[in-house]
């Protein structure tokens, strides 16, 4: 059963993510802060990380992804660099025009918009885990 770590501070949003994913055979582990999330990455070695952008600070999610993908050889997360990251954004479509995974400064693999559409979420999760 593929394991997904959901780093999201809103428990209701975690429920919204959990519902379709658990129904499709994924195991969900949740973390409510960036620090707890980084800790859980080491503990459970997930197959995928779903990461909220804004948590305790507006950029907490970015910082988590930057730490996980640090190119630094001595990085304590070096072993977890290849775990795919799906980032949750609440950024409206209009302003997300230049906000894509091709942006080198944002080391994530894909984005999913809030509010979450369960079908879109399942499709993106499926694509990232099978890669």
């Amino acid at each position: 059963m593929p394991k997904i770590l959901v780093i999201e501070d809103d428990a209701d949003m975690v429920t919204a993510i959990r519902m379709p994913l658990e129904a499709n055979g994924y195991e969900i582990v949740a973390a409510a802060t960036g620090a707890e999330g980084l800790q859980k990455v080491k503990e459970i070695e997930p197959d995928l990380i779903i990461l909220d952008v804004m948590m305790e600070t507006t950029t907490a999610g970015f910082q988590v992804s930057l730490q996980l993908r640090s190119p630094d050889e001595d990085s304590e997360y070096a072993d977890y660099r290849d775990i795919p990251i799906l980032m949750l954004t609440a950024i409206h479509t209009t302003t997300s025009l230049r906000f894509g995974p091709d942006e080198a400064y944002l080391p994530v693999d894909d984005f999913v918009d809030k509010p979450i559409d369960p079908d879109v979420l399942l499709e993106k999760v499926g694509a990232l885990i099978s890669d």
Partner: protein, 376 residues
């Protein structure tokens, strides 16, 4: 700083009219306790008093601020002239009065004694009044601008706070509707469907209010030359999936010229995402939306043409009003807040352009945005 330039002209004028060697304008702070040098004419740089002066330490100003001009015949003998700058011997100090309240003082100086009399005071008083009115107007404008930007900031913060619970609620409801919380009766599915549509509306409203507030909060200093081909192209690219999903043919007629306008990239993206989004939204399956841009006689023009449901004649005059939606748009299943076109018009006019619409009910619509070109 328009006010600074105007006050400098005022100082020049006062100096010439009274044949003085130098002139200076001081403005009173809000508490009325200190005067700050605002403009000078013929004044040696070494004499500039940059620090605000306490009114109580300047008998000349203190006397003038009570509402009447004060003449210093000779600084060597006049006790009011304790703080005359440099080697000036005579001076005239006229209050800047607005609605019977002082806002500052106008000084003229001469190196010779006895240069100013009552006639000079009578000559300079109207000039001082004009200066006072300008200062009051400038302060009023600054206050209004601050209030407007404060209001926009409040809307921004408030809507930002609303966005998160709306997104969470909608995510949960979508999960329930897809059956992930267990099977539902038809009645439950119908009711949750209605909740979901209301949440879609709320989400659009929050997003539109944020855009409107962002537009009003942005200052012209953030504008720069922007490649319009890019903005229009991105809008079409962004809306292509929605058009395909709906069965609407969305076509961009590219323009080989580089069309550059003054604005912000975000603002221009918003304009065209809104217009192309509306065209796709209100064009039924099988319809066409064409986006074209070109250089025209008086600017750069972008046309968004659709053969959709059109706009009834009686709705046209209200189309750009905040929260207005044409009756046939309201009657459609499409979610809309009536803010999109208000946002577009606001932005287009901010960038010195205009927007026009030609349409009839049932016969499609053409929106034309014309923006002034920038040589780049």
């Amino acid at each position: 700083m328009e006010l600074e330039r105007t006050l400098a002209r005022l100082a020049d004028g006062a100096r010439q009219m009274s044949r003085a060697d130098a002139a200076a304008v001081y403005l009173l702070n809000e508490e009325g306790a200190r005067l700050t040098l605002a403009a000078v004419s013929g004044f040696p740089v070494a004499l500039y008093q940059q620090e605000p002066v306490a009114v109580e330490r300047s008998p000349l100003d203190a006397a003038a601020l009570s509402g009447r001009p004060v003449i210093v015949g000779d600084a060597h003998t006049d006790p009011q002239a304790t703080n005359l700058p440099g080697d000036y011997r005579s001076a005239l100090c006229v209050p800047l009065m607005h609605k019977d309240a002082p806002v500052g003082t106008l000084h003229v100086y001469a190196t010779a004694p006895g240069c100013f009399d009552e006639r000079d005071a009578a000559l300079l008083s109207p000039l001082a009044d004009l200066g006072a009115a300008l200062v009051a107007a400038a302060r009023e404008i600054a206050l209004l601008k601050a209030q407007e930007s404060g209001k926009a900031h409040f809307i921004h913060v408030a809507t930002h706070e609303l966005r998160s619970p709306v997104a969470v609620s909608q995510s949960l409801v979508r999960g329930v509707l897809k059956g992930y919380a267990g099977p539902m009766t038809d009645k439950q599915a119908d009711l949750f469907g209605r909740v979901s549509r209301r949440l879609d509306f709320l989400e659009s409203l929050v997003n539109d209010l944020l855009e409107l507030a962002a537009g009003k909060a942005a200052g012209p200093e953030e504008e720069e030359p922007v490649l319009l081909n890019g903005s229009v192209g991105r809008a079409v690219l962004l809306l292509q999936p929605r058009a395909e999903e709906k069965g609407v043919a969305l076509t961009l007629q590219r323009c080989p010229d580089r069309l550059v306008v003054q604005g912000t990239e975000d603002g221009l993206d918003r304009i065209f995402v809104n217009l192309v989004g509306n065209a796709v939204k209100y064009t039924p399956a099988g319809g066409n939306v064409t986006v074209a841009m070109s250089r025209v006689r008086d600017g750069i023009e972008v046309q968004v043409i659709d053969d959709g449901i059109g706009i009834p004649e009686e709705a046209l005059p209200h189309l750009f009003q905040e929260f207005y939606r044409a009756p046939n748009a309201k009657a459609s299943d499409e979610v809309g807040t009536g803010l999109g076109l208000a946002i577009v018009k606001d932005l287009v006019e901010r960038y010195g352009g205009r927007i026009e619409v030609q349409s009839r009910a049932g016969q499609g619509a053409t929106f034309v945005v014309t923006l002034p070109p920038v040589d780049f």
